[in-house]
């Protein structure tokens, strides 16, 4: 069996697909549609998809979580390793091809969303999941109070472990809604629908079946905060920038799809809101945060050490 790791001394990942461990490597510029076509041949999929037409690299540059992170966690918890090309050109393996590891410093999690300051990924190792047989999905609508009660009920229930996505959608000038989706095994769809309907009754919201949540491409930027605080930020974003936001209710991550560009003052405002809770603003349309004085020396030293390799 292919171990997935080169024996030439470099210890780089070599292409592999391990159906038993449900782990496989893919070039960083593979689209999620291509990943899932390959995985589907083995009855598997990679659930953290925001835009099937976008590549793995683009996803990881745009967001730390996807809608299915409600059930499966952030990208860092679903990619155990990668091949990394250092800024000076050499390639090195970072992370492992097994999911559970505490061997050495966790450079993988540190580098995964670090942009291109220290180099760039060339291959990713993905943790795949079995394809379920059925999908239970729908949309809740109602006033802010009803939806807030509903959100609390969903997040407090152990059903939340089994719901793939719980997205609070805020449209500029429009009504708010909560989208839910659960990939479930055959025969369980009705149980999920019953649960969603019960939550709607108890919260005063209205639940309607819908085939699946809409895709809207990758977000312009994301804001990481606590689940409750994220909603306040999402509303500010929609009000200030137009467009809409999809807030991953369990992960506290706002995926922003604005109509207008964000100016420096609003970016600084968002950063102050997020950072007060230990969060941040991140994504393809925002400049990386300026390092604070304490970390400038650490970053410079890392760049220096790794550039000499």
């Amino acid at each position: 069996m292919n171990s997935g790791i080169s024996t030439d001394g470099s210890r780089l990942f070599t292409p592999f697909f391990d159906e038993v461990d449900m782990i496989a490597s893919f070039p960083a510029d593979t689209t999620l549609a291509e990943v899932n076509r390959t995985a589907a041949a083995h009855g598997l999929h990679f659930p953290l998809v925001i835009d099937p037409a976008a590549t793995l690299r683009e996803h990881l540059a745009a967001a730390e979580c996807a809608p299915a992170s409600a059930r499966f966690g952030a990208y860092v918890d679903n990619l155990p390793g990668m091949n990394w090309q250092l800024a000076a050109g050499k390639a090195v393996r970072v992370g492992e091809r097994v999911v559970k590891s505490t061997t050495g410093y966790d450079l993988f999690r540190f580098l995964l969303h670090s942009g291109e300051r220290y180099g760039r990924a060339t291959e990713y190792v993905l943790r795949l999941r079995p394809i379920s047989g059925e999908i239970a999905s729908g949309v809740f609508t109602g006033g802010e109070a009803e939806l807030d009660r509903l959100r609390s009920a969903l997040l407090a229930s152990s059903w939340s472990h089994w719901i793939d996505s719980i997205n609070w959608v805020t449209i500029s000038g429009g009504a708010e809604s909560i989208e839910v989706r659960a990939d479930c095994q055959p025969g369980e769809e009705g149980l999920f629908i019953d649960f969603f309907s019960q939550c709607a009754r108890e919260s005063g919201a209205v639940f309607q079946l819908e085939p699946s949540s809409r895709t809207a491409g990758l977000p312009a930027f994301t804001v990481k905060s606590t689940p409750g605080h994220a909603l306040t930020i999402a509303r500010e974003c929609a009000r200030e920038l137009g467009g809409f936001t999809r807030t991953l209710a369990l992960n506290g991550l706002v995926l922003a799809y604005p109509e207008r560009c964000m100016d420096d003052a609003f970016l600084a405002h968002l950063r102050s809101l997020a950072e007060a809770e230990g969060g941040h603003v991140f994504g393809q349309s925002v400049p990386p945060r300026e390092p604070n004085p304490a970390e400038k020396a650490w970053i410079n030293q890392l760049q220096k050490e790794w550039s000499q390799l």
């Binding site: 069996m1 171990s3 997935g4 470099s10 391990d18 038993v20 966690g73 918890d77 250092l86 090195v92 393996r93 097994v98 999911v99 559970k100 590891s101 505490t102 061997t103 050495g104 410093y105 450079l107 999690r109 540190f110 969303h113 670090s114 079995p130 379920s132 047989g133 609390s152 997040l155 229930s157 152990s158 059903w159 939340s160 472990h161 089994w162 479930c184 649960f195 990481k224 905060s225 606590t226 689940p227 409750g228 605080h229 369990l250 506290g252 997020a274 950072e275 230990g278 969060g279 941040h280 990386p288 945060r289 300026e290 304490a294 970390e295 650490w298 970053i299 030293q301 890392l302 790794w306």
Partner: protein
């Protein structure tokens, strides 16, 4: 690397001024208890032990130690199995057991704030009334501290579905070696006011980069109902097939555990016997979730276990019966300590498809060295714990076991595994790290302590043997 020269009276007096009376221990009888961890057989007696009661006292100590150029190491309950929280070059142990407060449980936002010396199971007890759950569950839960858990990225039996400690650390407060206090992340679990996600380097750093004083930990709803299943198999092929099918089962088990026949026989030959067929492989699995959902999955899981060849599948959702199903698995750790004067619990992760090959390798090595070995495994994750039993008093016993460990680590790297899944490297496996990472990977790793602990004054000789401290 020899110990430093010990603490001179002036240094001891200086440290004493940083600590309230009675919380700096230096008598041989007082520091002896800190000379080893759960690894047991390697002893490194510290020169002194300080017991701070607040982050501010940790800061004062660290500043004083910087001036005095004394090596030091932070320690929680000392349950590490890798030789991590010991004073490998002498100096000071900073015992964090007084930083034990659970300062906030925020049910609405799903996080807890705890001090680093808080005991894991105390957190679990505190969360129960809220219906909340912190999943990492190493077997030392009744005594181990969250600081130790975060330092070694601890796991446990329910990692397969719920993940390990790093999946739950939203933020960490760290006393850096210059005495500044850094907060990486926070309730939101992001970067906070930093441009990089530094907490990722600190989680699992085995106490080599700074001293944890506080954490923000992610909480999830407590599972409403749990079903436990136990089955035995006559051969490894059947047991391996059960592991594979369970790992892909849509009920998505929280735990998939494995005991090899040597471990089963050890239990069945003891007063803790539970009636498992001798010579069998035991699989234990758990599913959980809302009752309406999980109850409907029970028969499918049981049938999967039967389809793989088990004729004795037992399962229950009743607490007393579930504990009975777990009994053999839970008893094995204590039994090893009863049947052998000394033992080493190995910890590594392999691709599951290589289980047969690696298990055979363990038997081959152990039998050739005439060393008893019993193996358990967090099978969903491919995380094996072979236990090698020996007697330190017998000449050559330790050397034989260490040689097996060396050969085994080489094998683990060859099959695409990793040297530690949840115990850490400590000073037990540091000799094998360079070969595992390769020259370039190793050089990248070594850049990290240069940022935060360039002279290796904090926890020297751990993880990488090159990390020695020269005063």
């Amino acid at each position: 690397m020899p110990k430093t020269q010990g603490l001179d009276p002036a240094s001891l007096a200086s440290l004493g001024r940083a600590m309230p009376r009675g919380r700096l221990l230096s008598a041989a009888s007082e520091v002896a208890a800190y000379s080893s961890d759960g690894l047991g057989y390697k002893h490194f007696t510290p020169d002194a032990v300080a017991i701070p009661a607040s982050a501010e006292e940790v800061v004062q100590l660290v500043r004083r130690l910087r001036e005095l150029k004394i090596p030091y190491v932070a320690r929680g309950a000392g349950t590490s199995l890798s030789g991590g929280p010991v004073a490998a070059q002498g100096g000071l142990v900073i015992h964090l057991s007084k930083l034990k407060a659970i300062t906030e449980i925020n049910a609405a936002e799903g996080y807890a704030v705890v001090e680093s010396g808080a005991v894991l199971n105390h957190l679990d007890e505190a969360l129960k009334p809220y219906g909340l759950y912190y999943p990492p569950d190493p077997s030392t839960g009744p005594v181990c501290t969250l600081g130790g858990n975060v330092a070694s990225n601890s796991g446990g039996v329910h990692c397969f579905r719920y993940g390990v400690t790093s999946n739950y650390v939203l933020g960490a407060e760290v006393v850096l070696m210059d005495g500044t206090v850094a907060r990486f992340g926070g309730p939101a679990g992001g970067r906070g006011g930093w441009s990089e996600d530094w907490k990722r380097l600190f989680v699992g750093s085995e106490g080599t980069l700074g001293i944890f004083t506080r954490f923000w930990l992610r909480l999830i709803p407590r599972p409403e109902k749990v079903w436990t299943f136990r089955a035995t198999y006559r051969d490894l092929e059947q047991a391996s097939e059960a592991i594979r099918r369970l790992a892909r089962h849509p009920a998505y088990p929280a735990a998939i555990e494995f005991m090899d026949p040597r471990c089963v026989d050890m239990v069945e030959n003891s007063p803790m016997k539970v009636g498992l067929p001798k010579g069998s492989f035991m699989i234990l699995t758990e599913i959980d979730g809302p009752a309406a959902l999980v109850d409907g999955r029970v028969e499918s899981v049981a049938q999967t276990l039967r389809d793989c060849g088990s004729a004795d599948v037992a399962f229950s959702c009743e607490e007393k019966e579930r504990l009975g199903l777990w009994k053999a698995r839970k008893a094995q750790g204590g039994l090893i300590g009863q049947v052998s004067p000394d033992f080493i619990v190995q910890d590594f992760v392999i691709p599951k498809a290589r289980l047969g090959e690696v298990l055979h390798f363990i038997y081959e090595q152990a039998d050739a060295a005439k060393v008893a070995a019993v193996t358990i495994m967090h099978a969903g994750d491919g995380n094996l714990h072979p236990n090698f039993l020996f007697d330190l008093r017998k000449e050559g016993d330790l050397e034989r076991v260490e040689k097996i460990g060396k050969n085994l680590m080489k094998k683990v790297s060859e099959v695409g595994g990793t040297l530690s899944g949840e115990h850490g490297i400590g000073n037990d496996k540091s000799a094998y790290v360079a070969a595992h990472f390769g020259p370039l990977g190793q050089a990248m790793q070594m850049a990290v302590p240069l940022l935060f602990n360039p002279a290796n004054q904090l926890n020297p000789l751990k993880v990488f043997p090159e990390r020695s401290f020269a005063a």
